[in-house]
Symmetry: none
Subunit: 205 residues, 4 copies
Amino acid sequence: MAIHSAANKRKSSAPDKRDRILKAAIKVFARNGFYATRVSEIAKTAGVADGTIYLYFKNKDDVLTSIFEDGIQRLLAILREVAASDDPVEQRITRIIALQLGLLEDQRDLAEVITVNLRQSSRLLKQYAAPLFMEYIEVLAGVVDEGQKQGVFRRDLNARVVARALFGALDGILLTWALGEADPQALRKAAGHCASLFLEGLRER
Amino acid sequence: MAIHSAANKRKSSAPDKRDRILKAAIKVFARNGFYATRVSEIAKTAGVADGTIYLYFKNKDDVLTSIFEDGIQRLLAILREVAASDDPVEQRITRIIALQLGLLEDQRDLAEVITVNLRQSSRLLKQYAAPLFMEYIEVLAGVVDEGQKQGVFRRDLNARVVARALFGALDGILLTWALGEADPQALRKAAGHCASLFLEGLRER
Amino acid sequence: MAIHSAANKRKSSAPDKRDRILKAAIKVFARNGFYATRVSEIAKTAGVADGTIYLYFKNKDDVLTSIFEDGIQRLLAILREVAASDDPVEQRITRIIALQLGLLEDQRDLAEVITVNLRQSSRLLKQYAAPLFMEYIEVLAGVVDEGQKQGVFRRDLNARVVARALFGALDGILLTWALGEADPQALRKAAGHCASLFLEGLRER
Amino acid sequence: MAIHSAANKRKSSAPDKRDRILKAAIKVFARNGFYATRVSEIAKTAGVADGTIYLYFKNKDDVLTSIFEDGIQRLLAILREVAASDDPVEQRITRIIALQLGLLEDQRDLAEVITVNLRQSSRLLKQYAAPLFMEYIEVLAGVVDEGQKQGVFRRDLNARVVARALFGALDGILLTWALGEADPQALRKAAGHCASLFLEGLRER
DNA sequence: CATGAATGAGTATTCATTCAT
DNA sequence: TATGAATGAATACTCATTCAT
């Protein structure tokens, strides 16, 4: 009961309103960037009054922060789950690639947030995102490390460097994709090539 | 002598001042981000009056833009040279990687500005950086393509996708480096691992 | 009643505020001219915050423009009515003169803004005032033309030139009045003389 | 000698430079208005450096003031000459009309200044222009008055009101002309009609 | 006298945030 | 809770003016 009512505090009376605001913010942040986004735009997109936002968030920064806290933690959770699965490491890498590229259908928005908004606010980047980013790298490196220990992956490469490179490669592909064509098929194909490239590069022979 | 140095004072103070402004901007942009940086801060750091900045740059955007153009054009020029050399394609890839990471290894602030700040403004990113970025990708893809034609690299990977992945990987490595340790040694070692990873991934068997 | 007046407070305070801003603007524009007037001054005089002005007007130009449109549209409406009346043309001319001078006789500030401030910005003059001015001239010329067709006015004068001259004459009288004495009596007397001067000048003999 | 050298101070070493600046200022003020005109524009038009203007004038206001003092005094002198001539009053009126409309070939710039710039700066208007304007009216009224005394003009009209009306009429015609067609022939024809209108309106019968 | 690079005071406008309803 | 009108702090940029050469 106590737990339930605590959960309720956030979720019951205005649960969708807070969510609606966050969803709206993700959309407009992704489209225009954090600084170019007006609070009134978020409000309009969410279908609430400007002032309402301040009933659920301390200020504009807090909205972005909440996206990271709410969203990326969830993404990280999924990532951790994939990383810890029983699948062969190669398959895990492939699934992580799909995850980050937003190819896991219902996680598209989250993927967009992490790749697009990660670098939007220097202060937030250093304060909130950097640690989460590092954690992301760490999980990824863990998979690589495991592959190395299993003798599936080469041992002469630093797992963390590989993780950073993979993250960057995916980010770069997503960036070009967002700036240009934006054809889902192309992205899916690019994901395949990228996976093959990294897995071949990593393979122990 | 006196005349010469006197003449110089005028003629040379201009580019001098432009450089001072750019250096100051790199420093404060890296510290605070593009949006949180006040023009007056750049001016104060550069030791000039606010208005002086507008004698050398059209506006604040133009200052950020110029940092890229100055820096990336230089990178692009060397890249083109390396790409067009007679070296074996593998060696060219290795040199490009070393180049991109090495050029920035003693300029951490610049690296941060280039990897982080640019993405803070969607407009700048699309207007200025995208074309340069695409050009960079094109040159890189050319080398990959050549390797594929020579039968040295696998033919089942799209050269442009590989180029984007490589660029992104380097960018990602640079980002972590700029945000964290910033030890030149680490960067050089990472360059080696990254080269090996990609070359193995690319190798035709 | 209470509810009604409460409801009113919101609905009516908006135009109320807009009017307060316009009145304040007329006062400070007349005192200092358009360019020398700070937006913050208008705000202070109107008893609103600086930003509030931008809820009712696009920008400073728009404030000046609105003064004209509000004022001149009113003048134009009455002018059209008089011009279309059944009165003898001479009497219509006399009424128009009295009207134009009379409408402003208790609004010296407005007269000064209209006669002086408008010309301070070539752009505004050409963009907003010119069309209204031309329309005014056209209506006036229509009356003159009608008089000429009736054989009451000389046919050797161009009706549009006469209209411009009459408008200018009234403007000139108003300017002197606004800059100097500002005695309503004087204005009324001047109206009579002006009417007589033009009607005699126009009379067919 | 003393007188000569005093005259020299203004006229000898840089006489044309000061004049060139004034001429340039008249041109750009007439085109863009006082406030929209940049000092650097005047300098460029005059073919001198920005700083040079400050060797001849205290500041930007002083340039406008000098135009009034130098130019309008000259115009007033010509006006006084015409007004005091032996010609019949009707002819004097006709010549004055031509003068104000800038139809006396080499006085065109001066005419433009008085009609276009008169209302540009509220402060200058009240400080410098208003008295000169009143003097202008006074001279004009003097001619009318003389005509009344001679029995040529009606005595029932206030000479000053007539003068203001005439000045305004000419100003209005010039304004419409400047805003629209700007065909010299049209202006000349309008001048004729205006003269006829006022002279008939004034004629004693 | 002349130059024009450098200065820095001055201001319109925006937009996150508040609060009376 | 919800609203959205009102607020006013904050800042990029302009341009008249200066002064070292």
